[in-house]
Amino acid sequence: MTAGPACVDFEIPARPEYLSLVRSLVAETAEMDENLSPERIEDFKVAVSEATTNAIEAHARACRDDSIQIRCTLADDRLEFHVVDRGFGFYPDQLQVLPEPDDPSRLNFERGLGIYLMRVLSDRVDIRSGPDGTEVCLAINLSSADSRA
């Protein structure tokens, strides 16, 4: 097929009850590639859900009630989800470093696994953040879809 990438833009209210809808859209889109394993699709659902969760939290912190923007791109070689918020932004390289799992103080940290999961469950993660918001691009390769990065 020589057609270009299929691209769909949609918006969701910045509310947690819409996370499940986003995951459904990830699954529906990913299942269009018959070579993508169910496990890989589940991985990507977690990654996109984490990014969307962060976006919803960013709007809550900024007291914004406008929508989260999501772009889904299905190309021959990859599936991408861009998640865009208009929160205050953050610096990914300044995120708190968690204690090692064997460290008893690790139990004091209920948060902080989101970006880690995005990185290990996607083939590519790009995060651009500034004072006007954050854009997270998550992608999985469709040609070598079953090799976890």
Binding site: L19, V46, T53, Y116
Partner: protein, 128 residues
């Protein structure tokens, strides 16, 4: 950022989620079903902390019936483990599916909480 996105107008979207609690020996077993994310984690946390607050010191969380769990849900388990341990108790996790076990291993939660394949295995000392 994407210009005039046409958008998908959804009025309401319900998330499948349920927690039940039952005693098994001296263990309180929370059986969780459905999806655990930012939308449902507050209910999961409330139920777990309610059980701990009521005095339970031996808690099993069975997530075998969970279709989806993310870092928010895993964080609730971590929070519960912290509270139970600080009270001198024990908390165990049951994840029957390989998919859940893989995610738990990936986040190394299995190094903080003992993980079992079944409620029976997790509560083997229920009569002690």
């Amino acid at each position: 950022m994407f210009g005039n996105a046409p958008g998908v107008q959804i009025v309401c979207y319900f998330v499948d989620f349920n927690v039940t609690v039952a005693a098994r020996g001296h263990w309180q077993v929370l059986t969780v079903a459905g999806e655990i994310d930012m939308a449902t984690a507050p209910r999961f946390r409330q139920r777990l902390l309610g059980v701990i607050g009521a005095g339970a010191r031996h808690v099993v969380i069975d997530i075998s019936g969970v279709d989806f769990i993310d870092s928010t849900g895993l964080g609730v388990v971590m929070g519960g483990a912290k509270r139970v341990r600080s009270a001198g108790g024990d908390i165990r996790l049951v994840a029957a599916s390989s998919r859940l076990a893989e995610l738990i291993e990936l986040t190394r939660l299995d190094r903080a909480v003992d993980v079992f394949k079944s409620v029976s295995a997790a509560t083997e000392d229920a009569g002690s």
